[in-house]
Symmetry: none
Subunit: 224 residues, 2 copies
DNA sequence: ACGATGCTTCGGCTAACATCGAAGCATGAA
DNA sequence: TTCATGCTTCGATGTTAGCCGAAGCATCGT
């Protein structure tokens, strides 16, 4: 049955990651859902059998996308019902809470802190966001230069946007991706504010005590 | 999450039993699902917590009904997706053939007749359909004005499309939604061709004898 | 050819949850 | 009151399915 496919948290995470209409590879989806590639493979096979996603082979990658707009429509409907009861997902993937707090998404910061950072940037007009698209404002450029020593020319890249909104699977909100997102994460590492967990393959990002303080000073929302 | 609620077979059976809009007691639902009352009670509590059904106490019975038409709509969508992959649940009950024949989906006509109508419109170039999107042709506008006294300006709405394809759960095909779908259903009612079933909450649409004839004359496919 | 990368299959472990028997509350009827 | 009916709660059981490690293909890059 279709509903049971969507019912599983890991699969639901994958599907919502696909809701923007773009196709993602199996491993990207695994990351989005916070599970290993093996598990993701099993899930994707089921989703495919259920007609919810369609694969497209490209080299050694398999890109998955939602089958069509009917699927997207039904998913939206379900999300609508869920939102109505305030029954928004609390129960995320199987992994530890540290992963929810701060983690690497490709090469930029994700998790609670990642979302918080974008929120802060947006609130203070350092970036302007329209759906998926984010652009850096003049104030934003000054801010980056002053506090993080990041200059606009460091962010230029032929095939990658400077800013981009990336859907956060644990928070269900956007965090900052693109070359800027990557540059900021790299800067945090250089400043010894944070570092990827030592465990090989782990996506957890550990903040140092001073790093957490500095981060909160720049992007805090007063909650912690 | 809502989807996992619908995902369980026993709960899905209960929900489909409620799809006709009538309210059923807990024990009736248990029987529909083929489980004991204890188990049903647990399921119903979850469905209620998820906002899918609402209870109504009456004496020592508890009547359950679907919360509203939004829920019914989403369930239709899910059933539509399921039907598409051939993974149809057998449970759809020969109990209510009337529901399959003609019913209300939000505010427009669904079921066999709804699908038949859109087929006919498409075949005669009164509408043009591209996936989800449907647009009314010039001939279509003339047709509506002549036979149903529906003019284009009656269909304008700031936030709702005039035409839209809606997946039908009993047939595995599209029927016509949008303001046009609603307007046509309303017109059928005004012309006394059809009326919603008198049973409170029922979604069955009953056609009068003359109504059926007129409808067949306009949208018939020769099969009945 | 060789190794690296992306994805899949297999096997075993574990947690979640549907299920039912038995007992506990209600409500309605005698 | 006493009994019967409808439903719920509790406790125990068993199956399901998600999860990951290890190994197996396939494809790309050198």
């Amino acid at each position: 049955m279709v509903a049971s496919l969507v019912g599983d948290p890991a699969r639901a995470n994958m599907l919502t990651a696909l809701m923007n209409g773009r196709a993602l590879t199996a491993s990207e989806l695994a990351q989005e859902a916070g599970i290993t590639p093996q598990t993701a493979s099993s899930h994707l096979a089921k989703l495919e059998a259920g007609g919810l996603v369609e694969p497209e082979k490209q080299g050694r990658h398999r890109y998955y996308r939602l089958t069509d707009d009917d699927v997207a429509g039904v998913l939206e409907g379900l999300a609508g019902l869920a939102a109505r009861t305030g029954h928004m997902r609390v129960r995320t993937g199987p992994k530890d809470p540290a992963l929810r707090r701060a983690r690497i998404c490709y090469d930029h910061l994700a998790g609670d802190l990642g979302v918080q950072m974008l929120d802060s940037l947006r609130e203070r007009n350092l970036v302007r966001q329209k759906k998926q698209d984010i652009e850096l404002t003049a104030e934003g450029e000054r801010f980056l230069a002053k506090h993080l020593q990041i200059s606009p020319d460091m962010l230029a890249h032929p095939r990658r946007p400077v800013c981009k909104a990336c859907l956060d699977w644990s928070e269900r909100r956007h965090h900052l991706a693109g070359t800027l997102g990557a540059a900021m994460m790299q800067r945090f590492a250089e400043l010894k504010w944070a570092a990827r967990d030592a465990t090989p393959g782990s996506r957890v990002v550990n903040f140092t005590r001073t790093g957490e303080k500095q981060f909160a000073a720049l992007f805090g929302n007063g909650k912690d």
